[in-house]
Amino acid sequence: MPTLTYLEAIRQGIWEEMERDPTVFCIGEDIGVYGGAFKVTDGFIDRFGPGRVIDTPIAESAIVGAAFGASLTGMRPVAEFQFMDFIGCAFNQITNMVAKAHYRWGAPAPLVIRGPSGGNVHGGPFHSQNPEMYFVHTPGLKVVCPATAYDAKGLIKASIRDNNPVIFFEHKYLYRRIKEEVPAEDYIVPLGKARVVRAGRDLSIISYAAMIHVALEAAELLSKEGIEIEVLDLRTVSPLDREAIAETVRRTNKVLILHEHARTGGIAGEISAIINEEAFDSLDGPIVRLTSLDSPVPFSPPQEEYFLPQLSDVVREARKLLAY
């Protein structure tokens, strides 16, 4: 099996879908001749031509609107946002035009909006955000946030094949940092299914995207003390895998929820409520939230490090919870 980076896995996934299905096309800013700001669509225009790899004006509402319009004719557009921080520019198209279409008038919108999100790259307030919660809160959308190269390829392919609008957040910190063996053949990772990436019995860490790797490091570190931590990767943040969340709580009885977006109104609150509804009797301690600060993402490295949850924070909070 070839070894691919997270970025190469996404690139290969989209490429394979375009080879497989002529209704799939890409649209976005600088994605053609330039190959995209992060080179996810590098070489696409040479292979698939300018008809299927469309460079657009800097106009995010037009990108989403045009993708939606094309999807109404049976196409499967993959729209790139140069940075997911800019998704606010298309907020109305996504939340009012696209997300409500099937409920209101029975129009499926099989489109993918994808792009880099996330911090720890010193990108400052406008190149580091995790804006997924706006869309988790909007019925009609699916929100996908892969943590590994294998999942990234399988999830982007499943997203393209889905008949609903999917917002696909690629964590830019992971783009070239992580590698793994990824099958060259066709496979998908189903949307809405979480995965236990490390099994354990003492405490569960529920997380996704780049924070999964922080959780795994903490689990490795604590395992040297004989503590067995289970790490659950949500993979899809909307719809949430309620059953997988409840099951991990039933196994370990203690939960730490870790995410990179701001604390207030974050997914940890929602997961806490699900645990309350599904597995309250299994809890042997308070549900702990470990998140970024309720502030914009700061630019300067020492500030950003303080802003983001760190390995030491996870280890400290896990020990506290284990001692409860």
Binding site: A70, L72, W105
Partner: protein, 430 residues
């Protein structure tokens, strides 16, 4: 009888002289000129400004309000039979809205009612220029366009009464519905301008499937102020997509007059800045509306890109039924009431052209009345949705829709896959 005149091509620099102070012309003139095709037979200059009147501020109208009413311009393309068909759609549009007003007064409507009074010629004659396999995205006042696309008055009545049998099954109101299977109509949302990139995308989808089609949508003098209007039309222009954009300048955006929405004399001038053709028509003249729409659609079908058509008219009611439009100066209503599209087109067909005898006209009117009465009865008798029907359909579940290309499976030339070789970028973000 009106003389058949060629539409006037107006040249102007992109200035509004009366309002803009311009630098003195250089010794060697380097001003460029642009052309806007103007089909109108009159060019009223009316201005509205806010004036203090005792303790309150109101709108005052100025201009030549006593100008004679222009005739209907003979169409270059429409046959007498087609004119009569458009007239019937307009009549159905107007009388349906009168029926909606009555349903509202009887307390049967949930929420408000929006009217296209005075705009029926624009809605119906524009939509009439599209072919069945082409697409339309209506605004709230384009209920006539929906009728022309094949929806029935009962669909619209049930929408307003929030009935189970409405096209959205009670889930949305008014003209907020569509159909991707047969009628090719995109449902609008309440915010303005958002249909423009969507219709451009429909044309893009068709083109990827090997077919250049015309797609039509509308924006008002108020709605054109939004950013997405620019994004959508500019995208269509850059991609050369067959968008026909009607800018329905009905002089009022809710309570704000057009003079407070933009500085240009004519909104068609915007076309110059997009690099696309701009046309002006009298929105109360269905023949002008059709001719401009037809020419724009033909251009779209030839793959030559979008057209902006400004249709000038006036919204003859308030924003919605709750709004008595007391802010509109009465003389302005009087001016435009004389330019009523229904009365003038009826007179044109019955008295000027004599394409429709009085008896045939009466029969046509009676046919519209009985259709509306049957639809009204059907709609009123139809049930409300069950409470539980609020659930479901938020997502397209497996089996509920088959996604397949509307026109043809796209085909693409086979090319060898190049080796990815380009330098990394955005690597400073690490």
């Amino acid at each position: 009888m009106p003389k058949k005149t060629k539409p006037k091509a107006r040249s102007h620099s992109n200035h509004r002289g009366s309002r803009t102070s311009r630098p003195a012309a250089p010794a060697v003139s380097s001003q460029r000129t642009y052309t806007i095709l103007d089909y109108r037979l009159e060019r009223p200059h009316i201005e509205l400004r806010q004036v203090r009147d005792g303790d309150s501020v109101r709108y005052q109208v100025s201009g030549d309000l006593s100008a004679p009413v222009p005739p209907i311009r003979d169409s270059k393309y429409l046959s007498p039979q087609q004119c009569i068909e458009i007239y019937r759609w307009m009549l159905l549009n107007r009388k349906m809205e009168a029926a909606l007003e009555n349903l509202y007064k009887q307390g049967k409507v949930v929420g408000g009612v929006y009217f296209g009074l005075g705009q029926e010629g624009c809605s119906c004659a524009s939509a009439y220029a599209l072919k069945p396999d082409e697409w339309l995205g209506p605004l709230i006042r384009n209920q006539g366009s929906l009728l022309v696309r094949g929806f029935s008055p009962r669909d619209i009545m049930m929408q307003y009464m929030a009935r189970a049998g409405s096209p959205t099954k009670g889930r949305d109101a008014s003209s907020h519905f569509g159909d991707i299977q047969n009628r090719n109509v995109v449902a609008p949302i309440s915010t303005l301008g958002d249909l423009i990139p969507v219709l451009a995308g429909v044309a893009l989808g068709a083109r990827l499937q090997g077919k250049n089609i015309a797609v039509m949508t509308y924006i008002g003098d108020g709605g054109q102020s939004t950013g997405v209007t620019y994004e959508g039309l500019n995208f269509a222009a850059v991609q050369n997509l067959g968008l026909v954009l009607f800018v329905e300048n009905n002089l009022w955006g809710y309570s704000t007059p057009a003079d407070m929405q933009f500085r240009v004399e004519d909104l068609a001038e915007r076309a110059i800045a997009y690099g696309i053709p701009g046309v002006i028509v009298d929105g109360t003249d269905p023949c002008q509306v059709y001719d401009a729409a037809h020419e724009a659609c033909e251009r779209a079908r030839r793959g030559e890109g979008p057209t902006l058509i400004e249709a000038k008219m006036m919204r003859m009611k308030g924003h919605a039924i709750h709004d008595a439009a007391e802010y509109v100066p009465k003389p302005l209503f009087d001016f435009w009431r004389k330019r009523d599209p229904m009365a003038r087109f009826e007179n044109y067909l019955v008295n000027v052209k004599k394409w429709l005898s009085r008896e045939e006209n009466e029969k046509l009117i009676a046919g519209v009345d009985s259709q509306l009465e049957a639809d009204r009865e059907f709609a009123v008798a139809s049930p409300m949705p069950t409470p539980e029907s609020a659930v479901g359909g938020t997502y397209c579940e497996p089996g509920c829709h088959e996604i397949k290309p509307k026109y043809a499976m796209p085909t693409f030339a086979e090319r060898k896959a190049p080796v990815a070789h380009r330098a990394e970028s955005a690597v400073h973000l690490k």
